[in-house]
C-alpha cells in the first residue's frame, strides 16, 4: 500500500512536495581464496570456527599481512566504477566493542580510501541515471553472531569467527538517487558489474553483497539536505525498494504533521515490511579512528593500475551497445544476454560459430535459459558447448532439419553432448524434401479425412491449416512445412 507515488504528498495549502534523497553503502565480499590479513580460507559454510587462526581471532601479538589479490580485486572494482585510484591509501582502526569483532576494532580505511570519484550509469524507468561513487575502500569482515538455535540462546549469544577477516570492499554512493526505483536499479547494476568483473560471487543469501541506505527528504527544488535515517538489513533487491518506500512514507508523514525526522539507524523488518529504530548501542558512533600501526600505507603505482586495467573485461553496458551494433539485436535482448558474463560469452561463441546472431540469441534466451532455470545451474555449468548449439542452428539454416525437429535434437544433444549431425543421422530425422514422399502422405491424409476434404472443396479453405498439420504429423514432423504447404495447396485446389 506504500506505493512509490504516495510519498509525493502535497502539504495542505502550501502545495509543497517532498523529494527523497538516497545514497547507498554496499559491502561486497571479494572472491579471494584466503582472508585479507591471514591465510585462513574464506569458504562459506565450513563448520564453525574451523577457518580461524591467531590473526583473525585477534590474539595479542599477531600481525596482519595484506593479501595482494584482495587489493587487485578492489582495484579492479574501483576501475570498473570509473574511480580515481589514490597513490597512497591508509588502513585505520575503527574502534568499538561488539562480540563479532575479536580485536575490539575493525581494520578499515577512513580518511585515505583506496579510490574516489567514480560513477555508475543505471537505467531506471527508461532513463539513464548518473550515480556518483564517493569512494571505494577495503576492510575486513566481522564474525557471525548467532542469537538463536542453542539451548541457552535466551541468555547467551554464540560466535563463529570463520567470516572474521574475509576481505570486503565498501562502495559508497553519492546521495544521487531520487526514488526507490533508482536505488533498486543502482544496486542491481552494481551487482551485475561486480559479478561480471569476477571480484565477487554476488550471492546475497550468503551475505556476499550487503546494502545499507541513507535516506532523507527535502522540499522539491531545495538544494540542501534534510535529516537522514540510515537503514540496515536491506539484503535483497526487493528489500531495498520496500524499505525505502516505507521509510519515505514515514518521513513524509512526520514532515506533513510538522514534526522532525530524527537522525538514527533503523532496521528493516521484511516480515512486517517496516523499519524501526535499532536499539541504540550507546555512543557506538564514536569510533576513534586512527591509522593502523601494524600496516604500512598501501602504495599503488601507475604500473600496477595499468596491469589491473588490462585484465578488466568489457563491461556490461559497453557490451550491450556492441551486441546491438554488431549483431543487430534488439536493446532488450542485448540487455538480457549481457546481464551475466558467462551468458554473454556463451551467446557470442554460439553466434559466431553459427553465423546467425539472431537465431543464436533466440536459442540462448529460450532453450539455454530454460535449462539453466530448470536444472538450477549457473550458465558456466551448461553441459552443451556453444559450438554444438551453433552446429544445430546451421543444420536448420541449411534446411537439413526443420525447426520443430531441431527442438527435439536440442534435448538429445543437451543430455548427451553428441554432435547434432550424428543425432540427426542416427535417428533418421533429416527433413523430408522428397516431393514424392510428401505427395504420398498428402494422398493418405485426404483419403482418411474425406469430410474435411469435401468441406474444403465447398469453399472452407481455412481447412488448409488442418491438412498441413495432418501431413506434418504423418511425416513425423520431418517434412519441410513450406514444401508441405505448397504441395497441399496444389493438390487441394486441383479441379
Amino acid at each position: 500500500m506504500y506505493g512509490s507515488a504516495t510519498y509525493r504528498v502535497a502539504l495542505s495549502g502550501s502545495g509543497m512536495e517532498y523529494e527523497p534523497v538516497i545514497g547507498l553503502e554496499v559491502h561486497c565480499q571479494l572472491l579471494t581464496d584466503s582472508k585479507i590479513f591471514c591465510g585462513c580460507s574464506t569458504r562459506f559454510g565450513a563448520p564453525a570456527n574451523t577457518n580461524v587462526c591467531p590473526v583473525c581471532l585477534g590474539m595479542p601479538g599477531t600481525l596482519p599481512v595484506l593479501n595482494r589479490r584482495a587489493v587487485e580485486y578492489a582495484l579492479r572494482a574501483a576501475l570498473a566504477l570509473g574511480c580515481r585510484i589514490e597513490p597512497v591509501s591508509i588502513f585505520a582502526r575503527k574502534n568499538y566493542f561488539y562480540p563479532d569483532l575479536p580485536k575490539g576494532y575493525q581494520i578499515s580505511m577512513y580518511d585515505r580510501p583506496l579510490a574516489v570519484q567514480g560513477h555508475l550509469d543505471v537505467e531506471a524507468k527508461g532513463e539513464t541515471k548518473h550515480v556518483g561513487i564517493t569512494r571505494v575502500h577495503m576492510e575486513e569482515d566481522a564474525g557471525k553472531l548467532l542469537h538463536e538455535g542453542f539451548p541457552d540462546s535466551d541468555r547467551a549469544s554464540h560466535v563463529d569467527y570463520n567470516r572474521s577477516g574475509v576481505p570486503l570492499i565498501e562502495i559508497v554512493s553519492e546521495p544521487d538517487m531520487r526514488s526507490p526505483e533508482e536505488a533498486h536499479a543502482y544496486y542491481s547494476a552494481l551487482r551485475t558489474i561486480l559479478v561480471y568483473i569476477g571480484v565477487t560471487d554476488g550471492n546475497m543469501e550468503e551475505g556476499s553483497l550487503r546494502c545499507d541506505a541513507n535516506v532523507s527528504l527535502r522540499p522539491r527544488g531545495q538544494s540542501g539536505f534534510g535529516t537522514k535515517a540510515e537503514l540496515k538489513n536491506l539484503n535483497s533487491f526487493k528489500f531495498v525498494q520496500h524499505a525505502l518506500e516505507y521509510e519515505i512514507r514515514r518521513q513524509t508523514d512526520l514532515l506533513v504533521r510538522g514534526e522532525r525526522v530524527t537522525q538514527e539507524t533503523r532496521l528493516y523488518d521484511p516480515a512486517e515490511d517496516r523499519t524501526s529504530p535499532m536499539r541504540s548501542k550507546e555512543e557506538a558512533h564514536d569510533y576513534r579512528y586512527f591509522p593502523e600501526p601494524d600496516l604500512l600505507p598501501l602504495q599503488v603505482n601507475e604500473e600496477w593500475i595499468g596491469e589491473v586495467r588490462r585484465w578488466l573485461p568489457e563491461l556490461p553496458a559497453a557490451r550491450r551497445r556492441r551486441f546491438v551494433a554488431e549483431y543487430g539485436l534488439p536493446e532488450q535482448d542485448a540487455a538480457l544476454l549481457t546481464s551475466d558474463r558467462a551468458l554473454a560469452d556463451y551467446y557470442e561463441a554460439a553466434a559466431r560459430a553459427a553465423r546467425n546472431a539472431k537465431a543464436a540469441a533466440n536459442w540462448v534466451m529460450t532453450e539455454i535459459l530454460r535449462k539453466v532455470k530448470e536444472d538450477k545451474i549457473d550458465v558456466d555449468r551448461v553441459p552443451l558447448p556453444p559450438v554444438r548449439l551453433a552446429a544445430l542452428i546451421r543444420l536448420v539454416d541449411d534446411g537439413a532439419i526443420s525447426g520443430k525437429i531441431a527442438k527435439e535434437v536440442f534435448e538429445t544433444i543437451y543430455a548427451t553432448g553428441k554432435d547434432p549431425a550424428d543425432v540427426v543421422r542416427e535417428q533418421g530425422l533429416s527433413q523430408v524434401t522428397d516431393e514424392g514422399a510428401i505427395r504420398e502422405a498428402i494422398e493418405n491424409v485426404i483419403a482418411q479425412n474425406q469430410s474435411q476434404y469435401a468441406q474444403y472443396k465447398a469453399g472452407k479453405t481455412a481447412l488448409l491449416g488442418f491438412f498441413v498439420g495432418q501431413v506434418l504429423k504423418a511425416t513425423g514432423g520431418k517434412a519441410s512445412p513450406s514444401l508441405v504447404n505448397r504441395l497441399l495447396k496444389e493438390r487441394l485446389d486441383r479441379p
Binding site: S34, S41, A48, L66, N67, I90, H158, V159, P297
Partner: protein, 95 residues
C-alpha cells in the same frame, strides 16, 4: 584544551572500563598534564611538513593469496571463558 571529568568518563565507557570517582579525578588531572606537555609542540612551525601516519615510510609487504592451514577448533576455543558446540559463548547481545 582542558579535559573535563565528563570526557574521561566517556572515554572509560568506550573502553569498557569502570573507575571510581577518585580515579576519574586523578585521570582527569593526568590527562590534562599529558596534553599540556604535548601541546608544547604547537610552538613549532610545521606548516611545511607532510602529515605522518606511520614511523616507517617503507612500502607495503603483501602476501600471495595462498591458503595456510588454520588452527584446530579446539585450539581456537582453548582460551574462551565459555564455548558451546564449537562456538564462542558470550553474554546475550541483540543483533
Amino acid at each position: 584544551m582542558a579535559i573535563a571529568k565528563q570526557e574521561v568518563r566517556h572515554i572509560a565507557k568506550l573502553a569498557n572500563l569502570d573507575f571510581s570517582e577518585e580515579e576519574i579525578g586523578r585521570f582527569t588531572q593526568q590527562f590534562n598534564s599529558i596534553l599540556e606537555y604535548v601541546a608544547r609542540l604547537d610552538a613549532l612551525d610545521t606548516s611545511a611538513i607532510e602529515p605522518t601516519s606511520h614511523v616507517d615510510s617503507g612500502s607495503h609487504a603483501l602476501r600471495d593469496d595462498v591458503l595456510v592451514p588454520s588452527i584446530s577448533r579446539e585450539e581456537a576455543l582453548a582460551n574462551a571463558p565459555e564455548s558451546e558446540r564449537g562456538h564462542f559463548k558470550v553474554p546475550k547481545v541483540i543483533g
